[in-house]
Symmetry: none
Subunit: 230 residues, 2 copies
């Protein structure tokens, strides 16, 4: 499957050139022209990387990045902007950006920077969970697109929330994941009630993975969880 780029740009001219240029490098590019359209598209498309223009109608690129970062802590974000002031760069990294390229830029440079971010991120997250492949968790097979968790020849159907949560845990196994990240990605906010909700789902997932004692969902009180799979 091709690497997927979500490209947010409101200048149609520049947009088309960049999009085509990236596509000619075997990247699957979706372009969005409005800040408000980014999050819905993101959830649909599940890209491997975002390229964001900063000046956008309705919702500026920095705000968009903040929202993205809340839900997807490891998704690489590259800003592409005419703002050349150092304060803008600082702000860009401050809201969770991972690179910042000033306009005008050369396509070559954009490409090597994209490649670099993808390379750095490869072992992180996100990317693993997508296509029709299974994720192996101890003796279990987890099929996130099918909402299924298998052990030998038993298959358990997962609900939407169960599936989302297990996906996040699986993507981030062997790292500590904050409760906040989980809440933002599964529920979209981290209010008190959703927080107790998360506890309920953690209990349920622990029950589902109980058959393999190698799988451990360790609580880190006050912080989050740590999923151990071997």
């Amino acid at each position: 499957m091709k690497t997927k780029i979500l490209y947010v740009e409101d200048e149609p001219f520049l947009g088309r050139i960049v999009k085509e240029s990236l596509e000619s490098r075997e990247l699957d590019v979706h372009m969005v022209m409005d800040g408000l359209a980014v999050l819905p598209e993101l959830e649909q498309f599940l890209p491997d990387l975002c390229v964001l223009d900063v000046m956008l109608p309705n919702l500026d690129g920095f705000s968009v990045a903040k929202e993205i970062r809340q839900r997807y802590p490891h998704l690489p974000i590259l800003f592409l902007t005419a703002k050349t002031q150092v304060e803008d760069v600082v702000q860009g990294f401050g809201v969770g950006g991972n690179d910042y390229l000033r306009k005008p830029f050369s396509m070559e440079e954009l490409i090597v920077r994209i490649d670099n971010l993808l390379r750095m991120n490869k072992n992180q997250s996100f990317a693993p969970v997508r296509n029709t492949q299974a994720i192996y968790l101890g003796n279990y097979e987890f099929w996130p697109q099918k909402f299924e968790l298998r052990l030998n020849d038993q298959t358990r159907k997962l609900s939407h929330r169960e599936n989302e949560l297990l996906k996040i845990l699986a993507e981030n196994r062997h790292q500590t994941i904050s409760r906040k990240d989980m809440l933002m990605r599964v529920w979209g906010d981290d209010s008190f009630f959703n927080s107790r909700n998360l506890d309920v789902y953690i209990t349920r997932l622990r029950e589902y993975i109980r058959e393999d004692p190698k799988l451990q969902l360790v609580t880190i009180k006050g912080i989050g969880y740590h999923f151990i799979t071997d």
Copy 2:
């Protein structure tokens, strides 16, 4: 423990300014002025990140980067150079660089870019304990990724704080570790209450390792602790 930066720069003037500026941000900076001196220093110092000037005497920055990359696949490398041609940028990423900043640059921008690389790399660097499996402490086995401390066939689950603290002690066994370092790494600050907190956890860890009299957690009053494991 401070984050360590290896800075390779042959212009003494610029070098001093950048070094001091980074040090004022609580980074531990070693500066090297010759391409050939980089690898030995690297192995000694084991930095968390390298900042490389490209034009160097004896061995240029790109070649140095290639060597570094061979040995340390995940160590972040940031190029800092007067070369502004796109081909140079492409080459920089091609040899394994992770960011490329053109001279003249602002200190602010360098700092946010360094922070960004460190943040992105957090979970896969080559720091001493992270990639290790078990750490053997006398008759005990300590599995920091699993939050487990084993003796023969008994396994004790450690809490987050217990685990962090034992990790620091284990990493620094046979050296004196200051209370301040421990507090900063486990609690993030060294206020009075956390300080008493540390005492409580030290007591607890002493109880956990009591079965092997070779293990001694020696108090050095007014300074810190010294963990003896044989």
